[in-house]
Symmetry: C2
Subunit: 414 residues, 2 copies
């Protein structure tokens, strides 16, 4: 079962927006057992769209189209599809009622322009757009399926998940596919691949594929297997994950879409314990990640971003002698920072970071990328030194991720 994604919009071609829809759709289709053969982006032009539809039809069985719907686009996609399928528009009362309801929710009257959203091609199946006014359209011709969706990501995603994918699964006998993702932190891709080489080689006999998905400070490992019997696929993958958990237990922090700030937050909530931060080189990023989680005010009391020696002393109680003797980037200072934050904010836990993010500030003894992290908890303090690279942005990100993972590990031990 091959698919092609066609995205419509001049704004994609001139680089005004990045086409993130295609990647998301590609992933979802892949997860459902549909292979995406090609992605094509074309302009808001009827002739160009028709050519792309014809070419796609010659290549694949399923064509997914996004964009070019709505008043600002003069509904170019809808009018082009009417022409392509040699049909005409009819007025759909259900769609109109939905548009009216959406407008009523914002206390607005439906304008004539918006009323046009309820005009749909005669020969299509109308697909409900729960998050917007422009409906989706499902056409079938010569045993090929054409589906048009709005280009607004939030509307398209909802439509794919609740309407399109279930219908595709019903219509086509797609293979069962099982994916599982294991999240690792603290080990680079190449070192990781050496450590798990034997395990990786053993995957082939169970027909399991492995993908390495690296991002700053983390590597995600995705296992995929397809076949006829979903329970067996699931069992095979689960067994391999159990094996992997024994090989690299120290690096695995979660599964699927888990986030470290959510995992740490959940542990704190369960324990009814609280957290404070003392950030130097991470510059507020840990606080930003922690507070991006809804409900974080239940366990996060606050933090200090101490970018000067004075603030380390005044706000966190780091001793002047410690700073003079060992410097701001040292085990001694980061320890006092963590203990100071724990004390000042009266929490069970505190995380402290101190390092040289770069590009300036490095020395032979402490080059750019030198980072100390401390976790103060109910049972004492844990410190660790890291030697990161030369890129400021990356150093800040990796420090934050690494500190959150250290916190998670200490929370599990406590």
């Amino acid at each position: 079962m091959l698919a092609e994604i066609i995205t419509i919009g001049d704004e994609i071609l001139i680089g005004q927006i990045v086409d993130t829809n295609s990647a998301w759709m590609g992933e979802q289709l892949n997860l459902a057992g549909i292979k995406v053969h090609q992605i094509t982006s074309v302009s808001d032009n009827a002739e160009h769209i028709i050519k792309a539809l014809d070419e796609a039809k010659s290549r694949v069985d399923l064509i997914l189209i996004t964009g070019g719907l709505g008043p600002t686009k003069d509904d170019i996609t809808k009018h082009t599809l009417v022409k392509y399928f040699n049909t005409s528009l009819r007025f759909d009362e259900d769609v109109f009622q939905h548009v009216k309801n959406l407008f009523a929710r914002f206390g607005r009257e439906v304008t004539d322009i918006n009323k046009k959203q309820a005009e749909v091609p005669e020969t299509c199946t109308v697909i409900h757009n729960a998050n917007g006014t422009a409906p989706g359209m499902w056409f079938e011709q010569d045993e090929k399926v054409f589906i048009s969706m709005p280009g607004v990501p939030y509307e398209m995603k909802r439509m794919m998940l609740s309407e399109i994918l279930p219908r595709l699964k019903q219509k086509f006998s797609l293979p069962a596919i099982v994916h599982r993702t294991i999240l690792t932190q603290g080990v680079g891709e190449s070192f990781l691949s050496e450590m798990i080489a034997d395990w990786e080689n053993s995957l082939a006999e169970k027909n399991i594929k492995l993908a390495y998905l690296p991002s700053p400070g983390m590597v995600r490992l995705r296992l995929s297997s397809s076949g006829k019997d979903e329970p067996i696929l699931r069992k095979n993958i689960d067994e391999k994950i159990t094996e992997l958990e024994k090989i690299i237990p120290q690096y695995i922090y979660g599964y699927e879409k888990d986030k470290l700030e959510e995992i740490a937050g959940k542990l704190l909530k369960e324990k009814k314990q609280t957290l404070a931060l003392a950030e130097s080189c991470s510059g507020g990023l840990i606080a930003h990640l922690i507070t991006s989680v809804p409900g974080s005010s239940a366990y996060f009391m606050g933090g200090v971003v101490s970018y000067s020696n004075e603030s380390k002393t005044n706000q966190l109680g780091v001793k002047k002698e410690t700073l003079e003797k060992h410097g701001a980037v040292s085990e001694e200072t980061v320890t006092e920072m963590a203990l100071g934050a724990k004390d000042k904010f009266n929490t069970n836990w505190a995380v402290a970071t101190s390092g040289i993010a770069g590009p300036d500030g490095g020395s032979d003894e402490k080059p750019v990328g030198t980072v100390w992290i401390a976790i103060a908890g109910p049972n004492g303090i844990k410190t660790k030194k890291f030697q990161l690279g030369g890129n400021r942005e990356r150093n800040i990100a990796v420090t934050a991720i690494t500190a959150l993972n250290m916190l998670r590990k200490e929370l599990l031990k406590a």
Copy 2:
């Protein structure tokens, strides 16, 4: 002059990575006066690549290809191009020397696999890859130009800017194009378009096009004009910008790629003044933005993320009575937070935020999205209330952006 971008890689089709290369290339080509007609993403498959090349050749004059180079891809693009152009590989000593130099920089020997990077098609012009080992390749056939570049964004971008675009400008007589971007903050797209409607209508007679580029809290306005005489284009656009500056002076904060955290930082540096932060609802994001600027430790002393009432009292000296009488989200509290931060960190300036980011914590009187911001400076304090929306992530981002712009304005007044 029409172009097509072909990106090669299974990882794009399965949604493992978002194809950001195309958007960047589309923007650059557009800026250079080359129109991108289509973007096509295909798999790492010779037959598929050849079909895409043939189709592109029938549509456009210039075909830019990225991806599918290097050992992990078995150099699929290079081998396919050799086949497509009916040529063979030769060993290029210059490329080999460059590969050796790159490896030497990391203290490594060139392996046989990497030596293969120096094999290039006989009929192509080799394009230097300053940031990597896989060279670019420039082919010409039937008056069409085909250019293959590596898929690594950092390598491709450097190659486009220093090699490809200059050569394209030399080879083709491209129209002169002038773009200028004006950055606004604090006004929504629709309200802005009403305010500048007459001005916008006046652009047509000077052959200037306007694009609205919105992002949370900001709208960028891009003016573009193409023609033969660059100085005249530039003069026309400059005149229109001067007009616009008189219509919406209060909303314009910068031009082109300016960032608010950099502008504010520069002003502080010039004045030799310092900054502290007291963040509640922005949760550390302002600190993260400020410290993302290299050299920010010269003017940023630090901040407190105060996520609890206790920390507002203990760390910032907010009076208990103030919190009890007016609540944490109030003009009185945010004022005391700013003054407290300014005092505790001993700075010239302090920025404070307090609000309800959501999804919980709202009330009839103070719904989700209610935000107070205060700027304390050498000449007193400025406070302002904002009513943002219901989305936590967006509320945090808009609060940070808005606070930075308020700081910028106060810095300019002082």
